[in-house]
């Protein structure tokens, strides 16, 4: 039996979860508080540092409050862990773990970078390079709904139960548009392996930024002779991106869609009855899901770890097309930079957009996004399958027909629905 691959995989699992994702979670909570403080013209947590005054020095070192996550973690561990008497004990204890574990498992198919050559071993910077990457992420992420639902149910109390039921319905609804919105993307790539998807994008242009392909960039080379329907595809892929990103927001229960923990209606939502580290686990699960969500968005739509603009092959590849030994590290840095950018975007949206009402949320999912994603598949299929009819004909005949169909569907739904409208006065 060969132990080397096993040991390498073990090291990768340790590195990506404990050195990359867990600090990212900790510092996203810090970033959340600092960014929201900036947006609300406050200071935010800027004090926690090394308490040198305890050791007799004159001044503390505050480091802009960068040690705040550490203090929060310690607080979570040392707080009293109160289990209320009226809960269903076994599920009450399982629920936080069931929220956090799936979010961490999905990390294993994210390609963090290309290859690194260390001590003669060519190491891929992805834990499991399986042939059904995005599906694996969706499958495991769909399990995290159990944690929230069971937390609400096992708390045996009214408001947490509402939160659990809400999150259950919400996550099922948005999984549909999540799955449908990604189909045009998969039709463009023709493969499901995330590493291959990223390699494809590094050669032929990022999905939402097709400024170069293997024949040069838009300014040089015979790019225009080989670009095919790359620019025309931006229409369905843009719709895909919008639907996918919004569905990720809903799946991770982030702000415009955080109805399960809506403080104004449900006290604290599904985690009302939880305290100390169990509560912190819900928090960690949410942030881990957010990080994995941004990593998936970056991987699929923004070229993952690739530098882009043809720089990958120019700077980091040897003559035979193999990666140089340090290429993986640069790619890891690029990937983390892009992911952190998207985390900031998530935080920004949270503190900008007000919360939806629950019926608005359901209508958005089922009436708007579901149909948009469905017709988007047909637009993408039209562009890919019939390149001979030309971009003009596609744009001015095919797309309007599909959009008209979508509009008819929308109005049918509206007219059926308006009969049952509840009059709230």
């Amino acid at each position: 039996m060969d132990w080397v691959p096993l040991i390498i995989t073990g090291i990768k699992v340790f590195f990506f979860t404990f050195v990359v994702i867990l600090p990212l979670i900790a510092y996203s909570t810090y970033a959340e508080r600092r960014v929201c403080a900036i947006m609300q013209d406050r200071v935010g947590p800027n004090r926690v540092g090394i308490p040198l005054t305890l050791l007799g020095f004159k001044k503390d070192l505050s480091f802009f409050g960068l040690l705040q996550p550490l203090a929060d973690g310690l607080k979570g561990l040392f707080k009293q862990d109160l289990t209320p008497g009226h809960v269903r004990k076994s599920f009450y204890w399982m629920a936080p773990a069931l929220t956090a574990i799936p979010a961490f498992i999905t990390v294993c198919v994210i390609p963090f970078g290309s290859n690194v050559n260390l001590f003669g071993h060519d190491v891929k910077l992805v834990i499991a390079d399986i042939g059904a990457g995005p599906l694996f992420v969706f499958a495991i992420a769909s399990l995290s709904v159990y944690g929230i639902t069971l937390a609400g149910w096992s708390s045996n109390s009214k408001y947490p139960f509402f939160g659990g039921v809400r999150s259950c319905a919400q996550m099922i609804s948005y999984e549909i548009s999540l799955g449908l919105s990604i189909i045009p993307v998969l039709m463009v790539f023709g493969k499901l392996n995330l590493t291959d998807i990223v390699t494809h994008q590094s050669e032929k242009g990022w999905l939402l930024l097709p400024l170069w392909n293997e024949h040069g960039s838009i300014f040089s080379g015979d790019y225009w002779a080989h670009c095919g329907p790359q620019w025309l595809l931006l229409l369905p892929l843009g719709i895909s991106f919008i639907v996918f990103t919004t569905s990720i927001f809903a799946e991770t229960n982030r702000m415009p869609f955080d109805l399960p923990e809506c403080e104004t209606e449900l006290v604290g939502g599904y985690h009302t009855e939880y305290s100390s580290m169990k509560f912190a686990l819900f928090f960690m699960g949410e942030y881990a899901a957010m990080i994995v969500g941004s990593a998936v968005i970056v991987t699929i739509f923004f070229g993952g770890w690739s530098l882009g603009f043809g720089l990958d092959s120019a700077l980091l590849q040897t003559g035979e097309g193999a990666w140089k030994w340090f290429a993986g590290f640069i790619h890891l840095g690029v990937f983390l930079a892009k992911t952190i950018g998207f985390i900031i975007f998530f935080i920004w949206v949270r503190w900008t957009v007000p919360r939806l009402r629950y019926d608005q949320l359901m209508k958005l999912g089922w009436v708007v996004f579901f149909e948009l994603a469905l017709f988007n598949i047909f637009i993408a299929a039209l562009i890919i399958a019939a390149p001979h009819i030309g971009p003009l004909l596609t744009l001015f005949v095919g797309v309007p027909i599909l959009l008209a169909l979508a509009a008819i569907m929308y109005f049918i739904t509206k007219s059926v629905e308006s009969k049952h409208k509840v009059n709230i006065t």
Partner: protein, 220 residues
């Protein structure tokens, strides 16, 4: 190593299935069914059938069972947790169905080779695909050929090829494809969905509003 994982995950699946029957509480039963599905999915994945395993999790554990749990929670089935009255028919069913299963098992077990499975001949199949493609004088290599020659099993692409076939002038592999039956099954599911909606949609009575109807709320 694979054997160890096989026993671990099949044990997981079997314990889940037993717990599903044994638990009185419907939510506990549903959750043990999820555990059983996860064990099954792990078994599929250990057989190199990543796609089937992942779809098992995505569809059964992630969507269907979530709906089950949702409905069970909403209905709050207290009656199920009480002890049921003994019925001799239970015993008959409990003996008869396992007996049928046991006979089937005895029929299959003698033919099981009970040996280590051979490793997949990926390189040979890559060569096979290569020959076929050369015959069809196709310029571009197919995804299947590319990943087979890299030593990966392209199970997603192979399932796609088997399901939808490959027709046209420059076909690579001649498979009939199940495109039409697949569409028909899809329509069948749609019919079922429409039927459920039609059956469960309550007609609005003009006279007395039903209790629970949102329109029957007293005006404030």
């Amino acid at each position: 190593m694979e054997g160890l994982f096989f026993y671990a995950f099949s044990g997981f699946a079997v314990i889940g299935a037993l717990a599903l029957v044994a638990f009185k509480n419907p939510v506990s039963s549903a959750m043990s069914m999820v555990a059983s599905f996860l064990g099954l999915a792990a078994l599929f994945i250990s057989l190199n059938a990543y796609f089937v395993g992942i779809i098992q999790i995505l569809v059964y554990a992630g969507a269907i069972m979530v709906l089950f749990v949702f409905i069970i929670m909403l209905l709050d089935l207290k009656a199920e947790e009480r002890k049921t009255k003994y019925n001799p028919l239970f015993l008959v069913g409990g003996v008869f169905i396992p007996l049928v299963f046991l006979i089937q098992l005895c029929g299959i077990l003698p033919h099981v080779p009970n040996a280590e499975p051979e490793p997949l001949h990926l390189k040979e199949s890559a060569r096979y695909f290569y020959d076929q493609e050369k015959e069809a004088s196709k310029e571009e290599q197919s995804e299947i050929h590319k990943s087979l020659s890299k030593g990966d099993l392209p199970d997603v692409n192979l399932i796609g090829l088997t399901m939808f076939g490959h027709k046209g002038d420059n076909e690579t592999i001649k498979t009939p494809g199940y495109n039409f039956p697949l569409q028909i099954v899809g329509v069948l599911l749609l019919v079922a969905t429409v039927g459920v909606v039609a059956l469960s949609l309550r007609k609005k009575t003009t006279g007395e509003p039903e209790p629970g109807d949102p329109d029957s709320r007293p005006e404030p």
